[in-house]
Symmetry: C2
Subunit: 198 residues, 2 copies
Amino acid sequence: MPKGQPSVVPQDGLTTRQRRNRPLLMVHTGTGKGKSTAAFGMALRAWNQGWPVGVFQFVKSAKWKVGEERALKVLGASGEGGSVAWHKMGEGWSWVQRDLEDSEEAAREGWEQVKRDLAAETHRFYVLDEFAYPMHWGWVDVGEVVDVLRARPGTQHVVVTGRNAPQPLLEAADLVTEMGKVKHPMDAGQKGQRGIEW
Amino acid sequence: MPKGQPSVVPQDGLTTRQRRNRPLLMVHTGTGKGKSTAAFGMALRAWNQGWPVGVFQFVKSAKWKVGEERALKVLGASGEGGSVAWHKMGEGWSWVQRDLEDSEEAAREGWEQVKRDLAAETHRFYVLDEFAYPMHWGWVDVGEVVDVLRARPGTQHVVVTGRNAPQPLLEAADLVTEMGKVKHPMDAGQKGQRGIEW
């Protein structure tokens, strides 16, 4: 819980207000739990501000994050806050009509849509969930990602999650949190359970 | 994203199913961001399962977590998932009629209510937000907390957040995640902003 006192005041020609409202690029990485969960928790704040929220899930699992998805969709439909658009690679991106051959192609299609949405300023808060993986695997060029994110127009906050976030992304990010595993129930032989893991 | 394969199978006399459904004690600690945010993100999963969720905020700040609070309350009232009870120390616990002299007394009152709710199995998922602090400061006895949590009846999941979580709590926990700060906007002179920090 930061107390609001920056440790340095940079010579960047910005007023405190301009600096305060600068759009953020955030990365949640590391081997521990909570990377995606914290990103979806942040989306609650964005929703509360009335901001349009865009979620892109760069994974192919059906089981994970159903709770977050349903909650965010109920919130988006409630009319009490911002809208919520939820895009899932695992079910085939909604804007792609043809069958995608493989995960690599699907990941690239997801990134193309993120680029279009950033250019159009479609959302104000983006969750690029597990997007660190396609960069790590070389499916999406991290140099291009950094260039596009650095040049994004307006006030669009972006949070990227996933293990092995590449170094150029970490360097470009305003905020990086590393979730470290200290202890996990699976170490004691316990499998994941409903309501906790998904 | 664990793949569901535990690394060991313990000799605890439990079936896989019994072990899978064992209630969890979880701790989010460390100096980085995301400790509370990930806990509230987990609460979305609990809500989606229809579980009664109880939040106890052991802090005295009005500004923080308004987004999460409003979102969880809208979800709780939607009738689409579990109920949500949100208790705030900062506004005076709702069940305490008299003025509380100080934070230490208020923290102890909060813990007393947690004990009553655990004994009555009032909720199925508890967020004890920033509860690590009153333990760290010696306001609430960590030995008693560990005893009560270890002996809690039924299936009640508990997540405790806050820096400096005491060692006996970490030892008793099933899951511990340490959120480590790698980079934060305040290091670059940027103050916290609406929609991101609260």
